[in-house]
């Protein structure tokens, strides 16, 4: 059922429904064109009426400009930012812009004309800005050329504004809609100039999102909502001990239950019930007698994992990520030397679940000839490959109809659930099967934020200068599970996010004469994955907390102390200064309120935060956080602000509550009652300062998540004198002792 509104207003723009343009096997592509289940809105254009001008732009006779979006939208807002970049170079009327999602099958058929669709690492904008802007500029050049040829005048004499082309000398005008057909027949120019960002009028503006209206009336079809005629629903359950096996199940015990169609083995560790509805499948699955063969991992607990990591803190075969001078020699000499002080502390960061609000789901229809999936995924190309492999078909015989996602945060960078959905559908040939997980399955079968510990040892000389620092991280490598080919003989290079000596992606912001940052990989059996912010989360908590510890030991103000160490890192320092200024660091806080700072570089951007907290009778209240971000360029300040505030909720939820523990080899937390997250009542005021310095393109979805927790933890220390070194905070007594 769809609510029909008479116009686009006031809830905003609605997706268009066009059939056949990107058609594959008779089903139109795009998030909004599931022709089977969704009524076609009255204002949809007739098939074939729209004309493609270059790969990124489609123009309708009514002047509607459809911009192709290849990266996945899961709430982060990059869909709108990417459209702004195309529209900016196109010089079209922003009010007439709509969007359309492309599919990996079509992309493959057209030689990857839309480049990569994979969406992670805060790369959606920064990783595609160059070619999408060129896409807009190319379409603009072709449209002007078409008009000029029609008039018999040089294109250079024509100007364009808001999709209206003018030849001033002859006083003639035409529109993009009128010349799109002629433009389509032209060859694209070999090169196109791009605008200087200082001249932007659409990009850089705080424009509203293009994808809002159908989120507000309930008509947006997410993966869990998708339906097709004759569709069945499958609910799977895998061995709760990762790596364990499915030994047996008693299908007869539930096969007569209402709605149940099949009880099937999905793979060596997973069983699924297929029924006419989700609810009936779930009820039957809950009643299904299943015997697991958990194996040796059943002996693993949080304690054994902690012991495994603790051993890594002093192991002598680590992987070095950053080395200057000889930190170990200085540390050895300083130990017992009265003039120097050695500060030492151990930290830890627990497993986290992504817990996106939309649980994992995908609908697959398999026949011996063809396999199609309607699937939320962050990695369309990898999804296509996974589905094809599981289907036993060539990729050319498969398609992924990508969807807008109800939150993902890295979980759908993995394709495990798509493989599973395909293996299920393959056992029900010709019938579309929607596989949908319960929240409990989502929590237990996550791809968890890795568990780590860290030992930091610093040397302060008699003047309070940091002479040496050794930072040893021991813990799990994500890449060793998700992408073993990326792991070198020495270790996983991604573990040093925010800590590398140099580089445009994740460089440390301190200069310490004797520095050693190394990693001892210790991989428990719990399956890890990239979780918003990835390794930047724990690395920033460890380093920014310990820098504060050193400042306190030196008797120095945390900001002044950092300034000395950051003199050679002006971009890092500039955002820290901006955050400090924003919170009013030089003026005393209100009575009972205490402040903390943190800074880091990650995903190509420089970020800092300053927090104000109070602790009353052991209860923490976070009043305010000021965040400063330098992402080089800002495409939509309103969306960046939303990302910063949102990342703080995600990061602070982990800091306050987030902890997935292991007992008998399985994750213990199965729902939000045991895996609590932050809600509105705890939300601090967030002030976002954007200080784009130009000259580079950084990400914004993830970097700031990493500074929220250490800024708050440093403020907690200021308030209580207690240094919280082991998260989450719910396990820590903040009462004054």
């Amino acid at each position: 059922m769809t609510i029909q509104t008479k116009s686009d207003q006031p809830l905003g723009r609605r997706p268009l429904s066009r059939r056949g343009f990107l058609a594959g096997a008779g089903v139109a592509a795009g998030a909004f064109s599931f022709g089977f289940s969704i009524p076609v809105p009255a204002h949809a254009a007739a098939p074939g009426a729209a004309t493609e001008v270059g790969a990124w732009v489609v123009i309708q006779p009514d002047e509607t400009v459809i911009i192709r979006i290849a990266r996945i939208e899961m709430g982060q807002g990059s869909l709108t930012g990417l459209a702004q970049l195309v529209a900016e170079e196109l010089d079209c009327d922003w009010d007439k812009v709509r969007f359309e999602l492309v599919t990996p099958g079509e992309n493959k058929r057209r030689g990857n004309v839309w480049n990569t669709q994979s969406t992670g690492g805060s790369r959606a904008i920064r990783g595609s800005q160059d070619y999408v802007r060129k896409g807009g500029a190319t379409a603009r050049a072709m449209l002007i050329e078409a008009a000029a040829q029609g008039w018999g005048v040089p294109a250079a004499q024509c100007t364009v504004a808001k999709g209206v082309i003018t030849h001033a000398q002859s006083g003639r005008t035409t529109t993009y809609g009128a010349v799109a057909g002629a433009a389509n027949a032209l060859s694209p120019p070999a090169t196109v100039p791009l605008k200087d960002p200082k001249d932007w009028t659409i990009a850089g503006q705080p424009l509203k999102r293009l994808d809002t209206a159908d989120k507000l009336d309930g008509s947006l079809v997410y993966g869990v909502d998708f339906t097709m005629p004759g569709m069945l629903v499958a609910v799977p359950k895998a061995c709760p001990v990762h790596g364990g096996k499915l030994k047996s199940f008693d299908a007869a015990a539930v096969s007569k239950m209402r709605g149940v169609r099949q009880v099937l083995k999905v793979d060596g560790e997973t069983v699924a019930v297929v029924a006419d509805t989700f609810w009936r499948a779930k009820v039957a699955l809950d009643a299904l007698p299943i015997v697991w063969e958990a194996g040796a991992n059943a002996r693993v607990s949080s304690d054994t994992i902690a012991a495994l990591l603790r051993e890594g803190l002093s192991a002598d075969t680590p992987y070095v990520g950053n080395r200057a001078g000889d930190a170990k020699a200085v540390l050895a000499k300083a130990t017992g030397d009265k003039a120097s002080r050695v500060i030492e502390a151990d930290y830890s960061f627990p497993y986290q679940n992504h817990a996106p609000m939309e649980v994992l789901a995908a609908t697959v229809r398999w026949t011996p000839e063809r396999c199609e999936a309607w699937a939320p995924t962050q990695v369309p190309e990898a999804a296509l490959a996974a589905v094809a492999t599981a289907a036993g078909l060539a990729p050319e015989a498969c398609e992924i109809h990508v969807m807008r996602i109800g939150g993902s945060f890295g979980r759908r960078l993995q394709t495990d659930y798509l493989r599973m959905a395909t293996l299920i559908a393959k056992q029900v040939p010709g019938t579309p099967v929607k596989m949908m997980w319960t929240r409990e399955e989502d929590m237990v079968q996550g791809r968890f934020h890795p568990v780590t510990q860290c030992r930091l040892r610093g040397v302060l000389d008699a003047q309070g200068h940091v002479e040496a620092l050794h930072m040893r991280i021991a813990g799990q490598s994500i890449a060793s599970f998700t992408n073993p080919a990326a792991v070198t003989a020495n270790g996983d290079p991604f573990v040093f996010q925010g800590l590398l000596p140099t580089g445009a992606e994740m460089a440390i912001g301190y200069t310490i004469p004797n520095l050693l940052i190394d990693h001892a990989m210790r991989n428990p059996h719990i399956r890890p994955g990239a979780w918003r912010g990835v390794n930047l989360n724990q690395n920033a908590v460890y380093l920014e907390s310990f820098i504060d510890e050193l400042a306190a030991a030196a008797g120095q103000d945390p900001l002044a102390f950092r300034r000395t160490l950051m003199a050679k890192h002006p971009k890092h320092l500039a955002v820290l200064e901006a955050a400090a200024k924003g919170i009013g660091w030089d003026t005393p806080p209100p009575a009972g309120v205490h402040r903390g700072l943190a800074q880091v570089m990650g995903f190509g951007s420089y970020v800092a935060a300053a927090a104000e907290v109070s602790v009353d009778k052991g209860k923490l209240k976070i009043h305010r956080i000021v965040a400063a971000t330098d992402p080089g360029h800002v495409v939509n300040p309103q969306q960046v602000e939303a990302q910063v505030a949102g990342s703080f909720v995600y990061g602070l939820s982990a800091m306050l509550y987030g902890e997935c523990t292991v007992k008998d080899g399985r994750i213990e937390q199965e729902n939000f009652d045991s895996y609590n997250v932050m809600r509105l009542d705890e939300m601090p005021v967030v002030e976002v300062i954007l200080v784009p310095s130009g000259g580079f393109w950084g990400g914004v979805g993830e970097p700031t998540i990493a500074v929220a927790a250490p800024a708050v933890l440093n403020a907690v220390f200021a308030a209580t004198g207690k240094r919280v070194r082991h998260l989450p905070l719910k396990n820590v007594d903040l009462n004054m002792s």
Binding site: P10, L11, D217, T227, M357, R439, M683
Partner: protein, 155 residues
Amino acid sequence: MAKLNINGKILALDVEDDTPLLWAIREQAGLTGTKYGCGVGQCGACTVHLDGVATRSCALPVSAVSENQKILTIEGLGAERPHPVQQAWAELDVAQCGYCQVGMMMATAALLAQNSSPSDAEIRAEITNICRCGTYPRVLAGVKLAAARMTANKG
């Protein structure tokens, strides 16, 4: 079999008595605007109005609802014209992924029907829905904007 009054229509739905209202709404009535988030009444994505009261439908069996009770879902909230809460949400660009927002808006609409000008503290205490994207600052602003609009319209 359950007879339910959903958005002003009496529907006879072929469900077992212990089926949660959420799944009757989603899978039998075909109204998928109401979302599944946790199934245990924690997250509020499944919030509907039951006789005007915000109710988490995922943990309420249909047998506990009579056909005399009016169930309102997001599809009914703005059926004639967008509700002021939906308009405020559009104006402030509250939604990110949008998945939890239906529940947020239903909770807000019910709150404002009871309390036309809630304080910040009341909003923070009453709107307990989970949003993983972290839209809370704009949710707070959205509730206040909708409250102001509704008060002005009454005046």
